[in-house]
């Protein structure tokens, strides 16, 4: 087990200005609003916005509630979505190459999307190329439905994921 923090002093980035929806006054009752990039991003952030991945296990330090967004683990551009083909791909960037939290982040993202998107969607979670030491293994692990299912049967893991997903209050 790692005893200290994995990345003790993460770089914190400014939060990007959120794109504001312009067509909110859509009056047509029967028009269809397709699921888009921003919506997926909002799903990932409005609900479980602030998760201090680096402090999950050992310490809870309320002084540093960084979100995945502030750490640039996830950005809006890293979400690709095609509503017609029912396909989402999320690419995330762990902060350090050996981040052992990467699996947890990936799993949380997957669970969140599974719970929030219609079942017709195929979800693909990837680590950004070159950002992690065991990139291939990680990608394989995250997209193997058997292994994900198995992971979700592990009560410890489920608890940890739920903790990540529980809405936190700034």
């Amino acid at each position: 087990m790692v005893s200290g923090l994995i990345n003790e002093n993460p770089t914190v980035y400014e939060r990007k200005e959120r794109r504001v929806r312009t067509d909110s006054t859509n009056t047509d009752e029967f028009s269809v609003e397709p699921i888009d990039q921003l919506e997926i991003f909002d799903i990932l952030f409005f609900d479980f916005a602030i998760v201090n991945i680096h402090h999950i296990r050992d310490i809870r330090d309320p002084e540093h509630p960084y979100s995945l967004e502030q750490l640039k683990v996830l950005t809006e551009d890293s979400v690709e979505v095609d509503d017609l083909k029912s396909y989402v791909r999320v690419t995330f960037t762990p902060t350090v190459e050996h981040c052992s939290m990467a699996t947890i982040i990936g799993l949380s993202v997957r669970v969140k999307l599974m719970r929030s998107l219609p079942p017709r969607y195929k979800i693909d979670i990837r680590v950004a190329p070159g950002s992690h030491a065991t990139e291939a293994a990680l990608n394989k692990q995250l997209n193997d439905k058997e292994r994900v299912a198995a992971a979700l049967e592990n009560p410890n893991l489920v608890e940890m994921v739920d903790e990540c997903l529980s809405p936190s209050f700034e």
């Binding site: 009752e29 609003e33 699921i35 609900d47 929030s116 219609p118 079942p119």
Partner: protein
């Protein structure tokens, strides 16, 4: 002595440190009360406490002394013997030396020193002893937080109350303070400490005094806190906000001129820091220093301060000058706090010492400005640096000018003339004529930067006038040199601004903006001594008015000019400038009103109306004028329409009426006399209609009729009873001269009614609708002539499908007879009679079945009107109209709480049955109308029968109707035979339920919930009912969230969930889906075991909703799913 026995107990309790704090407080309180009631004297207490005060046990002694101190604190308002006080002070003073009991000693001293205005004061010598002992034996910084605070408070108190004694001590106090403050870190203590420094500085003002000699040390101790910065932003230190503390520090620093050699350099240094807080604090503090240190001491630092101010201004000014509408009366760019403080400081300095202005005037950057200005002619072309230059310099100059009259003079003498030369604006000669030699170049050399600078200066000088006019002893501003300078240039300035406005085109708003702003600045000089002469002022008004009149589209220029005019108008009204008001009236108001009157001008009608109403609402006199103008305009365009068939003018008419309703009517209470002119407006409307006998052109001007009705209704609504009477009288005259009365005599046979399909001319229709509006708006007090025939008239016309007539009937029924009790015989007809007419008489001549009319005042299903409703006679049209009419009449009766409404409800319910009592099948349309009639009955209507229109409203009428109808409808639903009637009954019930206050529903949740759920499922079949479905769903969600309904919700959980799950995929209305999902989420508050069985079902439904076409539904679904 019981008191004494208790005393020992209490003493023991307090001294025992192992007991809880509440225990301590209790015993303290008990002793204090007995002291206050004089059961126990302080002497007795001391004697009694002897052991505790002198024991060798340190802890007990400390507690004992503290107890005594606390007691004295309680006894502050109670007179004590001087000897007692004297000995007590001596005691505490002695105890100060003992560190173990220092808290008690400190609070004891403090309590005694704080005594004022009662017998038993501490003498000056005692106070001196206290101070000496404290200075010599208390190590403030080695004490705990609370004790330190006590020390500072003691110092503060001593300095405040015994200044002479403290002066005797001299150096000692200053040393003690220095020592005490050194290293202090807690805001509450610092707050007091800063005040102590301030007091010290006040006590020793002499240059040879202790403060002067110790200034450098003392300053060192307090300056290390500057600028204040809290490391812990949250939590415990919330008691003293940073602003207060920094204010205290600033006061301490600026307290004595002796700090000057140390303070100013420090502040200037901190000003150059990059921390915004430091800058703001330094600027504030410098301002305080400037006030307190005096001109002579500040003088040597002027250069440093000036360059610091300049830097701050340059750094804090943005380069965006807004040319927007809202910035017409403001500086036009954003100001942050640094900027504001820098401006304040500059103004302060200039005000205090005019020689500071020399620095400003000699500054190279300020001098450079004229080159910069003349380099670019358009603001957009300027480089950012030059923009900044212009903005900052204009700020500096205008602020300095604003500081005092002298500075204004200097600035104008030095800069304004030069600026004018740069701009090519020439002086007018003494005769007032312009020197025309450079006239051609004026238009070409309009430098925006220069204009901006010029406007800023003018605005600044304008602000000076009020202050110089307040006391008449000072010479009026006309004598001041700045004023004469402005006066010299005013004519050509106005010309320059005018040409700027006129030359501007749409793509360049800067020209228009600067021009209008300049004109506004010129027009806002106050008083008779203003540098702008009357003719020039009038010229400004003319220019602005002509801009408004000339434009044919709503441009920025137009809006700017309008806003400027409104500003000037309210300015005149605010300062009561009668002379200018006359010019304003003559030029602006008259012109605009005449524009309204003339139907032929380039400006679109709504824009004229907007301009006129905006401008005229600045003062009551203008409003009167405007209403007159409107009146004439209405008459002329109405007659123009009637005679020439000009459709444009009828359109103008309706726009005008709309303007009256929207702009004027809401302000009736604010403006005196508006009501009167509006009433005359209404009467002239009637006159006009009366005089235009023939409508030579038929028109389908629904819009106009509606606008006219609305205006009429609201005018009558706001008018007093007398004016209402006159309007009614007028209207009645018109109506009795028209062809309408003929209708009263129409034999009310069904054949005749059928034959009367289209015989109302447009004019009659207009008159009828307007008259109905008058009746609707009238108060119960107003007298309505010839009620009986009017009722007949409305009856017939409502049966012919005129809804206003039906509403008027409802309104009449509602108000009849209420007002007649006191004042006058307002009607020749009581409510009884009116109902008689409505329900019986009108059809007595009917040729069929008239024998049915037997019962006198009952208006149940036996009456003829009811029979029409039920479709016995006449066509379907007649039936639906009768139902609608009945609904309005019912509403009138319902609101006044009349019993007859029950019968009406029964008739309506009868209509909802698939087959009525006599076996006739009812047409679906009629049923639909009957169901909607319940909506009419229950909902609040905008058009009639509301509080504004003087309806008689009994409290709780909705509840009453609810309790009457719901059981009937419920039982009918159970027994209904056909699906159609079932649906209709549900619609009716939903109308009733959703319009009644939620609390009523909550009281009856148990009974209603099944019906609501059934209704929801029945109504969800057809998309026609989506609106009512939604309101019913809202009722349901209301019951779900309330604690009262919890039990029955829990009982019905399965049905509710089933219903909500179905509604979650309701395809016709998004809000229904959204609300249904929200309701599902709220159901989670029910006990877990109750809802767990439905988890699967709900999750399925919500998962489906995740794929909803609407985003909001999806978002709700995500939340809901997460929750389940």
């Amino acid at each position: 002595m019981a008191a004494l026995n208790n005393l020992t107990e209490h003493l023991e309790a307090f001294v025992d440190v192992t007991r809880s704090p509440t225990h301590h407080a209790e015993s303290l309180k008990a002793i204090a009360t007995s002291l206050e009631k004089s059961v126990l004297s302080i002497n007795q207490l001391v004697v009694e406490m002897d052991m505790y005060l002198t024991t060798t046990d340190d802890v007990v002694r400390a507690r004992g002394i503290l107890l005594l101190a606390e007691m004295l604190d309680y006894l502050k308002p109670k007179p004590l013997d001087n000897a007692v006080v004297n000995s007590l002070v001596g005691f505490f003073t002695a105890k100060l030396a003992e560190w173990r009991s220092v808290r008690g000693a400190l609070s004891g001293c403090l309590a005694l020193i704080k005594r004022k205005g009662v017998a038993g004061l501490v003498t000056a010598t005692d106070a001196e002893a206290v101070a000496k002992s404290m200075a010599q034996s208390v190590q403030v910084q080695s004490l705990a937080l609370y004790d330190r605070k006590l020390c500072f408070e003691l110092l503060e108190c001593l300095l405040e109350q015994y200044p002479e004694a403290m002066i005797n001590l001299g150096d000692l106090m200053v040393y003690a303070t220095c020592e005490a403050i050194d290293g202090e870190k807690d805001p509450p203590c610092l707050m007091v400490a800063f005040h102590v420094v301030e007091l010290l500085a006040r006590l020793f003002p002499s240059p040879s005094g202790p403060v002067a000699s110790e200034a450098s040390d003392l300053f060192e101790f307090i300056s290390c806190y500057f600028p204040l910065h809290y490391t812990h932003t949250k939590g415990d230190e919330a008691s003293i906000p940073r602003e207060d503390l920094s204010r205290g520090l600033s006061l301490a620093i600026s307290s004595t001129p002796f700090f000057e050699p140390y303070a100013i350099p420090l502040l200037l240094e901190k000003l150059s820091s990059s921390l915004p807080v430091a800058k703001v604090d330094s600027l504030k503090c410098l301002k305080d220093c400037a006030v307190n240190y005096g001109v002579n001491r500040m003088k040597k630092h002027y250069e440093g301060i000036w360059s610091a101010i300049k830097d701050a201004l340059y750094a804090s000014t943005g380069t965006d000058l807004s040319f927007g509408l809202e910035s017409l009366t403001s500086p036009g760019f954003e100001m942050n706090e640094i900027h504001r403080e820098a401006v304040n400081l500059l103004q302060r300095l200039v005000k205090q010492d005019i020689s500071f202005l020399g620095l400003v005037a000699d500054d190279i950057r300020v001098k450079m400005i004229f080159d910069t200005i003349s380099r670019y002619s358009r603001y957009e072309e300027m480089l950012d640096t030059s923009k900044l230059e212009v903005l900052v310099v204009s700020q500096i100059l205008s602020v300095s000018a604003r500081a005092s009259v002298e500075s204004c003079n200097t600035i104008f003498e030095t800069f304004f003339v030069r600026l004018m030369n740069t701009l090519g604006i020439v002086e007018s000669t003494s005769t007032g004529d312009l020197v025309h030699n450079e006239n051609s170049t004026v238009s070409t050399r309009l430098y925006h930067g220069g204009l901006h600078l010029c406007i800023e200066l003018l605005t600044a000088s304008k602000d000076l006038i009020p202050s110089s006019e307040e006391d008449s002893s000072t010479p009026g501003c006309a004598q001041q040199s700045w004023c004469s300078i402005v006066n010299k240039f005013s004519a050509s300035l106005i010309e320059a601004f005018t040409s700027a406005v006129q030359s501007s085109n749409d793509d360049c708003t800067a020209d228009a903006y600067l021009g209008v702003k300049g004109l506004l600045a010129m027009g806002m000089f106050r008083g008779g001594s203003s540098p702008v002469s009357r003719s020039e002022y009038e010229k400004i008004l003319t220019t602005l008015t002509s801009i408004i009149a000339a434009n044919s589209a709503k441009t920025v220029k137009w809006e700017l000019a309008l806003k400027a005019l409104v500003c000037m108008g309210s300015f005149i009204d605010q300062y009561h400038e009668s002379e200018k008001a006359m010019s304003y009236m003559g030029i602006v108001v008259e012109n605009l009103v005449s524009l309204v009157r003339s139907s032929h001008c380039s400006l679109p009608h709504p824009m004229i109306l907007e301009a006129t109403s905006e401008v005229c609402s600045t003062s009551p006199t203008y409003v009167e004028k405007m209403v007159q103008g409107f009146e004439e305009a209405f008459c002329s365009s109405f007659s123009d329409f009637c005679v020439n068939g000009n459709f444009k003018s009828i359109e103008n008419c309706s726009q005008l009426l709309e303007c009256v309703t929207n702009k004027l009517l809401p302000r009736v209470t604010e403006i005196d006399g508006l009501e009167k002119s509006l009433v005359s407006f209404a009467i002239s409307m009637w006159n006009q209609i009366e005089s235009s006998v023939v409508f030579s052109y038929a028109f389908n001007g629904r819009e106009f009729v509606e606008a006219a009705m609305k205006t009429m209704r609201q005018i009558v609504g706001v008018a007093s009873v007398n004016s209402q009477n006159s309007i009614i009288q007028k209207a009645y005259n018109v109506i009795s001269l028209s062809t309408l009365p003929a209708m009263e005599s129409i034999p009310l046979t069904f054949a005749a009614l059928e034959g009367l399909q289209h015989d109302l001319s447009t004019r009659d229709e207009l008159i009828l609708s307007l008259f109905a509006s008058v009746i609707i708006g009238a108060s119960p007090m107003a007298s309505i002539p010839d009620v009986k025939s009017l009722i007949k008239l409305f009856m017939v016309s409502s049966l012919k499908g005129y809804i206003p007539a039906a509403q008027a009937l409802g309104s009449m029924v509602n108000k009849l007879g209420v007002g007649s009790g006191g004042t006058n015989t307002s009607s020749d007809c009581s409510l009884e009679e009116a109902c008689d007419i409505i329900f019986h008489e009108s059809f007595e001549s009917g040729n069929t079945n008239s024998s049915d009319v037997t019962s006198k005042t009952i208006c149940g299903s036996e009456t003829l009107l009811a029979k029409i409703c039920l479709g016995f006679y006449g066509s379907l049209d007649l039936q639906t109209r009768a139902i609608t009419g009945l609904a309005w009449i019912g509403k009138g009766l319902l609101m006044r709480g009349d019993k007859r409404v029950n019968e009406i409800a029964l008739v309506l319910v009868e209509c909802l049955k698939s087959t009525n009592s006599s076996g006739n099948a009812l047409h679906p349309t009629a049923m639909k109308h009957a169901a909607d009639a319940f909506l009419t009955l229950m909902s609040d209507s905008e058009a009639c029968l509301n509080r504004k229109l003087h309806a008689v409203i009994r409290p709780l009428y909705k509840q009453r109707f609810f309790s009457i109808t719901v059981p009937i409808l419920e039982s009918l639903i159970v027994n209904s035979q056909t699906p159609l009637s079932r649906t209709m009954l549900h619609v009716a019930l939903a109308h009733v339920i959703s319009n009644v206050p939620v609390t009523v529903i909550l009281d009856n949740t148990k009974k209603l919930l099944p019906v609501i759920l059934e209704g929801l499922s029945v109504l969800s079949v057809d998309s026609v009912h989506k609106e009512i479905l939604f309101s019913l769903l809202l009722v349901l969600s209301g019951t779900l969230t309330d604690i009262k309904g919890r039990q029955s919700v829990s009982d019905n959980a399965h049905r509710i969930i089933e219903c909500l799950v179905k509604l979650a995929s309701y395809s016709h209305l998004m809000v229904v889906r959204e609300t249904a999902i929200q309701c599902l989420a709220t159901l989670l508050e029910l006990p877990h075991r109750r809802i767990y069985p439905f988890r699967r079902e709900v999750l399925q439904a919500v998962t489906k909703a995740l794929d909803d076409p609407k985003r909001r539904v999806r978002e709700e679904a995500i939340k809901c799913r997460q929750a389940w």
